[in-house]
Amino acid sequence: MENKIAVQIDDLTVAYNYKPVLWDIDLAIPEGVLMAIVGPNGAGKSTLIKSILDIIKPIAGSIQIYGKSYKKQRSLVAYVPQKGSVDWDFPTTALDVVMMGTYGSLGWIKRPGQKEKKAALEALEKVGMLSFKNRQISQLSGGQQQRIFLARALVQNASIYFMDEPFQGVDATTEKAIINILKELRKAGKTVIVVHHDLQTVPEYFDWVTFLNVKKIATGPVKDIFNDDNLTKTYGINYKVSVQG
């Protein structure tokens, strides 16, 4: 039974230029779930994650990570942004990008050393990218770039993982590899929150789901709430997905 709350969101409203993107969201994410956030384009999925991570300032509401503000709990949280949010022509290597995951625990000014390098190499090994460690990042395929991003989050050794569309533009093999790692994280008691697009795979990949479209439509166990009713409410059209078990 999950009872501890990892992320608690109350009355969250976020607006760009006075136009609400998220409206009065209340959401409690229990510890140890592998949760998908689903919703149409412009539903505020990425904005929700960015607000939790204090990257975007909400105009109202509060967000708590294990009962405290994000600023105090930074070390418990790892983040995988959308692959398209960075310039992959940046002059650096796969290993160096993964090392960036250690910058948070290092804090200001301190440089990464042998310990951080070792952790980064281990993370690269976990995502099957060790042999690419010195590869310039623009020379990696989309799937490999996504694995590098995942490795960068793993190296943070966090309790809660936020991932913004980790399956976007990756091949089937990489998708399987990534979801297996996410399932392992859940097994280890971590909480994993994923912005997800492919509704067909929700029941197979996730055990918890949040339907979002500016407002929160529903949140809970996939087996209880992943149904046509909620999908229709979220996407606004008659939605039919075959939901197994």
Binding site: L53, R74, V77, P81, V86, M100, Y103, I109, R152
Partner: protein, 386 residues
Amino acid sequence: MSSAQIEIQLIASLVAIACAIPGTFLVLRKMALITDAISHSILPGIVIGFFITHDLSSPLLIILAAASGVITVILVEFIQKTGLVKEDTAIGLVFPALFSIGIILIAQNANDVHLDIDAVLLGELAFAPFDRLILEGADVGPKSLWIIGSILLITLGLLFAFFKELKVSTFDAGLASALGLSPIVMHYGLMTISSITTVGAFDAVGAILVIALMIAPAATAYLLTNDLKKMLLLSVLFGVSSAIGGYWMAHALDTSISGSMTTVLGLVFLFVYLFAPDKGLFSVLYRQKQQRIEVSLLTFLLHLGNHKEEEERHVKHLNEHINWQKVQSKSVLDLALKNNMITIDNDIVSLTNKGKNFTTEAIDYILTNKNSEIENMKDRFFLFRG
């Protein structure tokens, strides 16, 4: 070389280094245009500072000018945030406005101040050695040297202290923010340093060359390396060598130093743009040609594999059956022969065993795109690459 010549080259080199460091990050952040804006819009800061202090190298003047540089950035971002215009338009609106305030201030007080627009825009490095810094009666060198030297020291100190923070906030501002390494502080820090460097270099090389010294060396270095540290070093190297090369060019042609330096910077970029090993124009064209031949070769081998009948494999028919306008069929045939992939008997082409294996493997590689096998496939598949 006279001591004035040495001093001029020393000042030019320090200016080049001080510009190349923030320039590298500006190029990577795709903010090259903002240096153009800053270099112009610091003019009102310089003029007001000059009215107060009557000294072009006073620290107050540098602070005021740097402040107007930062104000430029804030104004540009403010206009951009309204969502009514894009960033380039916002830049185009802000800096002429500030620059014109500076020009009006100069024109109105032209009789009282010794500050003319030509000097501001183009600078005059040749006069730099005449303005000496006198400490307790002793001549310790040109003022410009001390100013740019101090700015360079500050820049280097900040670079070493915050290299990691600058790197992560440039590459992935979202992550930097989530990790608590405030990308906003880095952004305004970089803008402040760029403004200060611009002011410091201004006196010596003028507003136009400052932009060139910030952007051209970094853009050149970007074409040559995939490593941020090497990119910084190369930028510095290109900046300094162009500065010194430009000085001697001006000396030989008896012309403007800053103009010559900018010309050399442009020529160096052009040379690297054409001849850089990976990203250079010729290397890209060469690679595209090789790819075309590779694809043609594969198409050719596939065709041979698919057809047992002799008329389909006759040398003359191949030209018609495979669309080979872009690649000479002869070069493909020669290549296949050279690699023992085909044999030609009475003008009938047949695949050898090696050719058959290669074709199967290549098709397999293309269809599955197995990441783990790319490495060992590559050497065999891409015949022409090193």
